[in-house]
Amino acid sequence: MTWDLKSDRPIYLQLVEHLQLAIVSGRLPAGSRVPPVRELASQAAVNPNTMQKALQELEQSGLIQTQRTSGRIVTEDTDRIQATRQQLAKNQLDAFFEQMQRLGCTRHEILSLVEKELSIV
């Protein structure tokens, strides 16, 4: 995976989002091993302590679990992964509607634009 990090927001938040996306999209499947901190930090070219902080955040939200002997794994709780996925989708929708409102689109316009787009895809 490529780590595209923006310069205006805290790095650890972006790492959290990146890993969430990897989990909900199945690139890091439920129950699979999460690579070690150092390896992830090196891949993303970030400080290991920052990566550690991101993983701790994901642990607290329950997406990742620490096992005493074998490092970290992605949770096997698929409901939780599904819930995270829906939350991320909701965030995208909120942002989309905000943009459309700024453009002055009515509900009706938005709906017909979305339908048109979906029929092309």
Binding site: L5, S7, D8, R9, P10, I11, Y12, L13, R38, A41, S42, A45, V46, N47, P48, N49, T50, K53
Partner: protein, 232 residues
Amino acid sequence: MEPILECRKLFKDYTSCRALAGVDLSLYPGRIIGLLGPNGSGKSTLIKLAAGLLTPTSGEIFVAGKAPGAATKSLVSYLPERTYLPDWMTAQQVIDFFADFYADFDAQAAGDMLHRLNILPGTKLKTMSKGTKEKVQLILVMSRRAQLYLLDEPIGGVDPAARDYILQTILTNYNPEAAVVISTHLIGDVEKVLDQVVMLQNGQVMLCATVDDIRAEHGCSVDTFFREVFKC
């Protein structure tokens, strides 16, 4: 945890000016620290004091609890802003030289890095470009297993691709027992690998914070923040 570098009310005066004006600072192992500040803010002076090349005018400085001197030289790996290596030597000869000098030097690691950066061991320093010489010197410094790395402008003359490799080297050499202090103006390039930023202004610490705290508080990168604070 004991700080690896500690300064208390540290002052350094040169004949015509005051370089450090009361620095209080504690840096801990396991961190990569960016030492930032405009020209003449005291970055190099602070690093030279920690390396034991200068003595304080007043105040105290400790490396792993000891005053800088013969005993701390084995703990500190220092990259000066200028090269001091004899230029008639080849890359391999300076590696051998360092291996003789420092018990904690890993000649194997140094050889591997030379190879990765496409520097032939038989090349004389005299015939190398400025950037290549800097790479060799940084390889030497990073191949020691020290507790405190002091890197004074390590990536200034190095091309962007090699810069990435060097930062990657600093990350892969990351050791929870050691601290790395990097003084640089190329903030945008290094801020992702830093834990902590220490900003100096007129010989004093004006800010000591984590990169993410600065980004969260000011909504911009450390690079942008620096440009705003020190706008000319």
